[in-house]
């Protein structure tokens, strides 16, 4: 059974069509990158999964269940979500931020404390940051804390919206590698929105390219690199590849 299934999902904002009938199956355990330019509909598509956005037509299924029939609050507590802005609560310590969903679920204090410590280790944050406020952390540390918060209640589905967008290249690479490692070790299903094709190629098992609210490519990274009939998609893949070859040439 697919972890997430989109059936003819459409969404309009006034005259603009953000999603024009998207149908996709996301296999459990896969790491899928949603790629496209601004306005392509990739973020809108991601947000229909946890009902931050309701589609005008079509349906979204998580673990075989139509999300429109689910209580949005219960649905979201079972889905991890991290985004570029992170959105850590500035008035709460890192530990309290990470413990948000376990607290909403009514876990006892000892279980929450143990889970927070475990998560800090998991995302490579020193335990000493637990009692600090978000403002005292670096951008990379804040994003790690955001990941920890998204995973705190043991969600198996992780939604990532440009999660590394605001980070410097070194931090970005380290965190991306860590994210992929977590995906594998925890057995997650991950869906990541990004406009960075190189990042998508290096992290994902499968890349879905969107343009004007429609799927224009859906393939593995290797297949895409080998070539694609859509000229724009092919051009998009060619850029990082050409860059990589030029850099490799310098080293030789």
């Amino acid at each position: 059974m697919s972890a997430v299934r989109f059936e003819g999902v459409a969404k309009r904002y006034g005259p603009v069509s953000a999603l024009a009938g998207v149908t996709l199956d996301i296999v459990a355990g896969s790491f899928v990158a949603l790629v496209g330019g601004s306005g392509s509909g990739k973020t809108t598509l991601l947000k229909t999964i946890n009902r931050l956005i309701a589609p005008d037509a079509g349906a979204v299924f998580v673990d075989g269940r139509n999300v429109a029939d689910a209580d949005p609050v219960q649905l979201r507590r079972g889905i991890g979500y991290a985004f570029q802005g992170v959105g850590l609560f500035p008035h709460l310590t890192i530990a309290a931020n990470i413990a948000t969903v376990p607290r909403l679920l009514g876990w006892d204090a000892a279980r929450i404390a143990a889970r927070v410590a475990e998560l800090l280790d998991l995302v490579d944050l020193p335990r000493s940051v637990a009692e600090r406020l978000p403002a005292a952390l670096s951008g990379g540390q804040r994003q790690r804390a955001g990941f920890a918060r998204a995973l705190a209640a043991g969600a198996k589905l992780l939604l990532l919206d440009e999660p590394f967008g605001a980070l410097d290249p070194l931090t970005r690479d380290a965190l991306a590698t860590r994210t992929r490692a977590l995906h594998d070790s925890l057995g997650l299903t991950s869906m990541m929105v990004t406009h960075d094709v190189q990042e998508a190629l290096l992290l994902a098992d499968r890349i879905v390219v969107l343009r004007d609210g429609q799927v224009v490519a859906d393939a593995t990274p290797a297949e895409l690199v080998a070539g694609h009939p859509d000229a724009q998609v092919a051009a998009m893949i060619a850029v990082p590849r050409a860059q990589a070859e030029r850099i490799a040439a310098m080293a030789s």
């Binding site: 609050v73 219960q74 985004f83 802005g85 959105g87 850590l88 609560f89 008035h91 969903v101």
Partner: protein
Amino acid sequence: MSAFAPALALLPARLAAHVGLSAAALGLALLIAVPLIALMLARAGSRGPVLGIASLIQTIPALALLALFYPLLVMLRTASGVDLPVLGFLPALLALTLYALLPILRGGVTGLTGVDAEALEAADALGMTRTQRLWRVELPLAAPVMMAGVRTAAVWTIGAATLATPVGATSLGDFIFSGLQTEDWAAVAVGCLAAAALAIAVDALLALVEHGLARLSRVRIVAGLAGLALIGVAALAGAATPTGTARPIVVGAKNFSEQFILAELIATRLRAAGYPVELRSGLGSAVAFRALASGDIDVYVDYSGTLATTVLKRSDNPALPALTHDLETRTGVGVVGPLGFENAYVLAMRGDPARKDGIATIADLARVAPRLTLGADLEFQTRSEWRELQAAYGLRFAAARAYEPTFMYRALGSGAADVISAFSSDGRIAAQGLVVLADPKHAIPAYDALLLVSPRRRPDAAFVAALKPLVRSLSVERMRAANLMVDRDADKQSPRAAAASLAKAG
């Protein structure tokens, strides 16, 4: 410190009333503000109108807003038939509540709409319900701005509550209004300092609550609220003066020294006759009569000319029996009798310039008035007597300024005013060597001081009998001497002491 002793003795009761009034107004404002803020957040289109109306209310001077509630409540009482108290606590509460609304509303809307959009997205995405998001994210993040609004409202309300005195609500303003009239600066200082200290203490405690909310620290929230509660309890303890079961007789007084003295004199007589008595001092001139007619006060002294022109709107100068009959039939107010002296509006000048220009009458004054400045009390220029004077003598001044009576005499002394609207029973006329200008055309009516009782007390023979000894007991010389005791700069006495000297000599 002896100068402060009389004021300090009155402090607990007035501070208690002040705290009670301010807290009630602030609490009511918060109750009204919460649904309005919710409305403004739910419908952005309502923000303009709601904040606009609140801002408009804020532009009305606090004193005027307080004064407006008296006639509004009188109208409401007439229209509804419900026996609303139109004087004292209720009008003050309503006016201060409206005054406190704007900063609370503005702080609430600004605070809640300014919450970080990413924190809100995270709250939704993590699966918080609308209520959880409000309590765990929005309110803590909005707390500093919201509480800044509440703190501003608290400080304003505590300050503006001192202006509740003229509508008859007891507050720390009683020290300020009566102190200003009688130049009892110790009393003014006690009133100001107590109000300021209260405002600072409340502001600091609210700041503690604010920090507690922002950091979700129960300790700080509880400590701040406990401090506020302590002020409330201390105030209640201060108010817990023994009160009889019978409703006390309320003696009214307008806002000048003679009225304070007469109110004390009346109060002394009534106490001697066994009545519990309460004073409501510093009432506006028109407010005082309407308060008597509606039974909010039971007895006070007013002047025949004022009653004929302002209350009965008569342009003639009726004799006492006609005036009494008119008052009783048209307003229900009873006239116990004249006190024996007259306190008319007169125009007065310093002696030297009057003699130099040969001014002895208002007709003489009219010739030179275009080069002179008139110093009038606060209501003189709006009164019919002033229009009568202008019509009869063609009076035109170069400029006219309004003063508190005390400062009006100062202005004349310093030359800031050349002519003032004095009162004939004022001791300062003789003390400052002023010349009272004759009124050959009798443009200003007689101003016999009359002892008035409310419609409810008029049939009460025992009550009226207790007041009767005051009728025709005061000559203008004795009243002037008593007024001077309070108004002079050296060896100043309290209105109560001046009243005691009148009672003794009588």
